[in-house]
Amino acid sequence: MRLTGLPLIITTAVLGLLVIAATVLLWSRFGRWRLLTRTLGVVLAEALVVATVGLIANRSEEFYPSWQALRGDTGTTSSTAPPPAGRLDALLAGGRSTLPWRPASLASWHLATTPTVLLPRDYRDRPSTTYPVVLVLAGSTAEASAAAAAHADGVVTVVATPTAATTVAALGRMGVALGEDVRVTGYGWGLVASSGSASLAAGLVDSAPARFAGEALIGRGARPAGSVAFAVVRTVPGKPSPPGKLSPSGKALPPERLLPSGKAVAPGRPGKPGKVAPQAPATSLTCPAGSVWIVAARWAAAQTGQPLQPAVRLPVGAHSAGGAPPGEPPAGSHSAGRLPVGGHPTGPQPAGGR
């Protein structure tokens, strides 16, 4: 008999009525035994009435759709799957942490030089950790060297030198190529761009808004349209300060480019339509000329997530959800290497309401 079915509710209710009737009608029978039969009758009637009410409530709210659910059995085991090793992982045996990167799609990006991949210090010691990325779009080989020297720890830095022939569409495929070669996340990256690459950077962010958590622009230029965190790094000439010392002025710059109307939602009070809001003001970072790349790289790295061990996952379910994040493998698609993870319910724990 199903827990939420009418047969069970009717049976319980009828049984309750019968017990009440029998208790009342037979109240003074059974001689000495009547103390026992009366007590039993009262308690049983009360229990059946409470059970009927509980079953009706459970049927209408569906807290426990089955007996299995009532036992606290979810029939589900969450699991963690270690990330696949990056193809470059094997090359790191010698302790190298800076590599020229020549993926198959390199030619399609039309870069001035071979991009450089810089790894975090602990990359080799943590083979199941996935790292976020800071992508640097440098304007020249000199800037590329400065950017490589500014590599912040705790992220994988990719330094690329785009040319006029580099397109957003082609460079947008870099994430997939990088994911095959290095253990990186597919989302929440930081982006550092020199002013010459500003439109390319804005285009990259706009084409894949989930890919980037923040962009630091060195100098002036276009900013991305979405809600990605945005900082402008400027030099303060003739004002020496220790290199690498971040000095956010706290002063918000006016947004460089307002959203086209109807692009963002900033809801007002309930009942009022969401107004189109300007973007969050850009963060303004000022520093001496020698440390712009360090300041930009640090700020971009701070917008990314922490390097993490493989997450506990549940199956994604049989349906097509809109927009799976780029580079994020669908959960539950791993059949091998499942590790059972603790955290099972201690017992049936019903919940009320919604």
Binding site: R38, Y64, A264, G323, A331, G332, G343, A351, G352
Partner: protein, 348 residues
């Protein structure tokens, strides 16, 4: 004795038995007044015992004081001094983390409600680090104590952070209703409590003022179960400038209450928002149990309506209905996912 102790329910059952025996034994010796009084008492004892058990399940009234309408008051923490009183028990805590209880008075909303704050291991030792924040909303009926006692939030957070699957994160558990049986769905009710303002303006301002946490939207996320899942969906879509990601556990696409201005069908309706307004750049984790029909249907609807720049990740528990067992199963995956979609603890 605490209001949600199992011993209290056992005491109630013993009372039910006792009254039944008394009824059987004294019926023939006493008059009508005694008899009807005893019948009344037996009904009351049964109702009270059932009520205690239901309250144990929901934690709608986590304490006797709450039942009597006297919410526990804690002074706002000043500096490193916190009121540690009334910290809910959470079995299986690994250690190093702390849960504090405080009363958050909101100048913008005029609400003054209790809140728990989870401080991860290492929080006190890193005073210069700005930690990411997750704001957790509870179901209805329910309280912040449901997160602590029934969903064992401290245990799951400790486990995920210790395993390196989650970054050290400050997690706040505010109340979203001034009355246990008033369902606000985290909205600003017309002629009622302004809980949306409290949760999205007062609580964040209080947390930023009293704890070293990130202030940017990239460092703030939402999580909620059941009605709290609706809160997550609605607040994330309404305030993408304050939160970057949200995890909805068995939540809804509509509030299911009347807000007073009809906005339950429009601006406070996540499904309507996704259909009729430009979608914001946020990430949403939607989890449901396959046999929980309403939240399954609502979650699938939201997942189908969402498109870039909204990013949706789904997670499914095979069965278990709309229960704590299901939400406990979802906690570790949801916290891991949230942490991966929030900015890291920032050290200058």
């Amino acid at each position: 004795m605490r209001i949600d102790q199992p011993a209290l329910v056992l005491l109630g059952v013993a009372g039910v038995l006792g009254v039944a025996v008394l009824l059987a034994v004294t019926w023939d010796r006493r008059g009508k007044v005694w008899r009807s009084a005893l019948v009344t008492v037996s009904v009351l004892v049964v109702a009270a015992t059932a009520g205690l058990q239901v309250n144990r399940m929901t934690e709608a009234y986590p304490s006797w004081a709450a039942l009597l309408g006297r919410a526990p008051r804690h002074p706002a923490p000043a500096g490193a001094k916190f009121a540690d009183g009334d910290v809910p028990a959470s079995p299986g805590v690994i250690g190093g983390s702390r849960v504090l209880s405080m009363t958050v008075a909101g100048p913008a909303s005029g609400l003054s409600l209790q809140m728990y704050v989870y401080l991860p291991a290492g929080y006190a030792g890193s005073p210069r680090t700005a930690f990411p924040v997750i704001e957790a909303t509870h179901g209805f009926p329910g309280t912040a104590a449901t997160w602590m006692r029934k969903l064992r939030a401290q245990h799951y957070l400790d486990t995920e952070i210790a395993a390196g699957r989650m970054a050290p994160t400050v997690v706040v558990f505010p109340m979203q209703t001034p009355k246990a049986l008033l369902d606000t769905e985290c909205t600003n009710l017309v002629h009622g409590p302004q809980t949306e303002t409290y949760l999205t303006a007062d609580v964040p301002a209080y947390v930023r003022a009293h704890f070293h946490v990130r202030a940017d939207r990239g460092g703030w996320g939402l999580i909620g179960y059941s009605a709290g899942g609706f809160c997550t969906n609605n607040l994330l879509l309404r305030h993408p400038d304050r939160y970057a990601a949200g995890a909805c556990l068995s939540g809804y696409a509509s509030p299911g209450i009347a807000i007073g201005d009809g906005s339950e069908n429009t601006y406070n309706n996540p499904a309507w928002r996704l259909q009729h307004l430009p979608q914001p750049g946020v990430s949403l984790f939607l989890a449901w149990a396959e046999d929980d029909r309403t939240t399954r249907r609502d979650s699938l609807r939201l997942a189908a309506l969402a498109h870039s720049p909204v990013q949706v990740t789904t997670a499914v528990v095979a069965h278990g209905g709309h229960s704590h067992a299901v939400w406990q199963e979802m906690e570790a995956p949801a916290f891991d996912w949230l942490s991966a979609h929030l900015a890291r603890p920032e050290t200058p």
